[in-house]
């Protein structure tokens, strides 16, 4: 279908749609069918019942779209997909039949920020299908939306505006626009783009570790053994006790002690190679404390290309024995419950035997944020450490003579 025909059709649908269609009865046993989707359990248990429920739900008229979207808020990831698919089938059939889609109700749903962020984005996409221009006008209002997908569109507009202002040499306006975009941005790629524009093009200082909520101050201890990758499952002393003044036998019997490490990396990298050297077949630990303003749900977000384990408040949260397949910010999202006051974090990072140049890294990056990626800063967060200014050439030459 070409775009013009589609627009004509959707506008026709919009004008012909009436509130009465919303009052039509939902499919019988709506709640029971939704419950069947939510009941899908591990290893595919309940899929057959879910398929039967899906058949009934997806056969409904357009008036079922809003209830299906609302049902996503209290559904798990698998059930949300079943619900989404039912919505898509209904929309497709309604459009083919020339029936109206409930633009106004979708807008009301979109405005209800208590609903599932994914469902609200889906509602917005449906609205854009009905009336792209009307949907486009809503984007600036998403700048502080709890849905990161909606927020992303608003940030993208600001980035474009900032670029245009910078190109016109309106530096003051561009800085203000980029600062506003940075405050709102939650997606890593957008944050990096904004920071680049601010720091490289406009000479502004950007405290990325603070923006992301990376934990920059740790105590580290290494090397323990990881010969034959056995260290991942071996319980070394830091897993039994945290005593920062203790001394333990490390790899090959050499004594190891805790030492402080503050990261000056713009993404909070904790690099074991810095204090301990580029070792192989070794295990290291990093420990820090995080003071929370209140008890609340949070996420630990980790980037690591070594085998790793994390303990939060003494409890093992997760571990993964994969080496050197890549890392990126927010690679792993680990939900936790913060306690008000002191919380403890212990990270174990194992380096393996590989010798290729892309296997040198023995490091991690960890931040604390909410489910949308908004940094949750510790109440006693220290200032972000500054990188030392590069030494002058002359000085370097002098150093080399010593």
């Amino acid at each position: 279908m070409n775009a013009r025909l589609f627009t004509c059709l959707t506008l026709t649908l919009l004008t012909s749609w009436s509130a009465s269609s919303l009052r039509a009865a939902l499919p019988g046993d709506f709640e029971k069918h939704v419950a069947a989707l939510r009941a899908v359990g591990p290893e595919g248990a309940g899929n057959a019942e879910a398929a039967a429920a899906f058949q009934s739900l997806s056969a409904a008229e357009a008036d079922a779209i809003l209830p299906l979207l609302r049902a996503m808020e209290t559904s798990g990831p698998i059930a949300r997909n079943w619900l989404r698919s039912a919505v898509e089938v209904i929309v497709e059939r309604s459009q083919k039949a020339g029936k109206a889609l409930p633009f106004a109700d979708l807008k009301a749903f979109l405005d209800d920020t208590r609903q599932s962020p994914e469902a609200r984005r889906l509602a917005y996409d449906l609205m854009a299908k009905i009336d792209a221009q009307a949907a486009q006008k809503l984007i600036p209002g998403f700048l502080n939306d709890p849905s990161t997908e909606l927020r992303r569109d608003a940030v993208a507009q600001l980035i474009a505006t900032g670029k245009a202002e910078a190109e016109k040499d309106d530096k003051t306006a561009a800085i203000a626009t980029y600062r506003q975009a940075l405050d709102a941005a939650r997606d890593v790629d957008q944050i990096q783009e904004i920071a680049k524009q601010l720091s490289e093009k406009l000479g502004q200082e950007v405290d990325l570790p603070r923006h992301f909520g990376f934990l920059t101050h740790w105590h580290v201890i290494a090397p323990f053994d990881n010969t034959g990758r056995e260290g991942f499952e071996t319980v070394f002393p830091p897993e039994k006790e945290i005593k920062l003044d203790a001394t333990y036998p490390g790899k090959e019997g050499k004594e190891v002690t805790w030492q402080p490490l503050a990261s000056t990396d713009e993404y909070g990298k904790i690099d074991f190679n810095q204090p301990f050297g580029p070792l192989k077949e070794v295990t290291g630990y990093a420990y820090t404390e995080y003071t929370a303003a209140e008890a609340r749900p949070a996420e630990l977000r980790l980037a690591c290309k070594n085998a790793w384990k994390i303990w939060f408040n003494g409890e093992l949260i997760f571990g993964r024995d994969e080496y050197h397949r890549g890392q990126r910010i927010d690679q792993y999202k680990l939900p936790v419950q913060l306690k008000a006051g002191k919380n403890t974090l212990l990270v174990k990072a194992c380096q393996n035997e590989q010798t290729q140049d892309w296997t040198v890294e023995w490091e991690f990056k960890l931040r604390v944020c909410d489910a949308t990626g908004t940094a949750l800063l510790a109440t006693d967060r220290p200032a972000t450490p500054k990188k030392e200014a590069p030494k002058r050439r002359g000085g370097g030459a002098e150093e080399s003579k010593k």
Partner: protein, 405 residues
């Protein structure tokens, strides 16, 4: 003696779901070795005029299109983290989009920039689609786009993932969907019930990254699935996962093997041909040829020859019975996709720069007879059906040949 292609066809009929036409239902076609019977009128003069239609895709992907009847199905992944999984259905006749469905990934979507979350090729039994993703989501739809079942394998097995990306393509064998979810950590292979997605069986696999796909072959009067890994090849019964044979001399983890009848050609120490014994009998090595060393592309089998493209982009033709090299010709590489062929005596391969090459195999030596420049990076493998070539990029699906829309 009956011709090898004829015997291969019989073997293929034994191994595959019946759809009543020469559909392309899985990675590297009905036999899983790149060759499909028929298609004698595939175009040999590639070029702009050979494009029948092209359609835009909403997201990235390198999984091959699959063709069932007059419908072409493609998977794609979109969004900043590729967490939107999309399945699209097009009319094979004119490229019209018939439907699309979208899902939120439930597993990790991180992967190397060269690959994507829509890396595995979907599979079909002619009635349904089975789509596996790098996020380890496994989604079954009927041909009209109705969701039949969904599994989030990373929800069930939280350490089953590869930070470089997963790419193994599942296959349907009898009444089981077989998938290899093999990686450095929680590594396994499983057989899934086609109706419900429930595990029929699940076995531990070597803890090592592995991008190869399962291949079905005949063993006695039964079908066996060959699961390739760095350790070698384990043959299992598709319905139970029980061991049938074990080849333990190591194998590649990127190019997959290829089966023809009851013989398996494995990227192992170059190329190795084996004939697993029926009913658990010993593996009989037929030959090994270290010079026939597949690069990323998997071997292609046509008649009495096996074709291998090495990492230098050289196409080697070898005897299926001895492994002896017959000829070689340099192609324009590099290649991430694999070669495919029908019954017109030509081979088709697309390189990473988007250049499709047609190689005439009928002479004493292979000869590139035509090319087409698609202008987009091609990382995947073409599919063939009804005398047409289907190939996709991150943004476009093309139909080449097969008549005018």
């Amino acid at each position: 003696m009956r011709s090898l292609p004829h015997l291969l066809t019989l073997a293929a009929l034994l191994a595959l779901p019946m759809t009543g036409r020469a559909d392309w239902l899985q990675f590297r076609g009905p036999n899983g070795n790149g060759y499909v019977e028929g298609n004698a009128k595939l175009p040999t003069q590639l070029g702009p005029n050979a494009v029948t239609w092209k359609a835009s895709l909403p997201g990235r992907g390198l999984g091959s299109p699959i063709i069932v009847g007059d419908r072409v199905f493609v998977s794609a992944s979109s969004g900043p983290d590729q967490n939107q999984l999309q399945v699209l259905c097009f009319s094979a006749t004119d490229g019209r989009e018939l439907w699309r469905r979208s899902f939120w990934a439930t597993g990790r979507t991180m992967c190397h920039s060269k690959t994507s979350v829509a890396a595995p090729t979907p599979a079909s039994d002619g009635k349904r689609l089975y789509t596996l993703w790098s996020s380890n989501d496994l989604i079954c739809l009927d041909l009209d786009g109705n969701l039949v079942w969904m599994r989030g394998l990373t929800l069930d097995y939280p350490n089953a993932s590869n930070s470089l990306g997963m790419a193994s393509s599942p296959i349907v064998v009898g009444d089981t969907l077989v998938a290899q979810i093999e990686n450095d950590s929680e590594s396994f292979a499983a057989g899934f019930d086609l109706d419900t997605g429930a595990n029929k069986w699940k076995i531990d696999r070597p803890k090592a990254a592995n991008w190869t796909s399962p291949v079905a072959l005949k063993s006695g009067d039964q079908l066996v699935v060959a699961l390739q890994s760095s350790k070698g090849v384990l043959g299992v019964l598709p319905s139970t996962g029980s061991d049938v044979f074990n080849y333990a001399n190591g194998a590649a983890t990127i190019p997959s093997g290829a089966a023809a009848g009851d013989t398996l050609y494995i990227p192992s120490n170059g190329l190795t041909a084996i004939k697993p014994g029926a009913d658990g009998g010993e593996v009989k090595p037929l030959w090994n040829e270290s010079a026939q060393n597949p690069g990323t592309a998997s071997p292609l089998i046509i008649g009495d020859k096996v074709y291998v493209i090495n990492n230098a982009g050289v196409l080697n033709a070898a005897s299926r019975t001895t492994g002896e090299r017959l000829w070689r010709v340099r192609l324009k590489g590099p290649f991430s996709g694999s070669p495919v062929a029908g019954d017109n005596g030509h081979l088709y391969i697309f390189n990473e720069q988007g250049i499709g090459q047609c190689v005439d195999l009928s002479g004493a030596e292979g000869k590139v007879v035509s090319e087409i420049e698609l202008g987009e990076a091609i990382i995947g493998t073409a599919s063939l059906s009804d005398d047409a070539i289907y190939i996709r990029s991150d943004a476009t699906l093309w139909k080449i040949g097969g008549g005018q829309p």
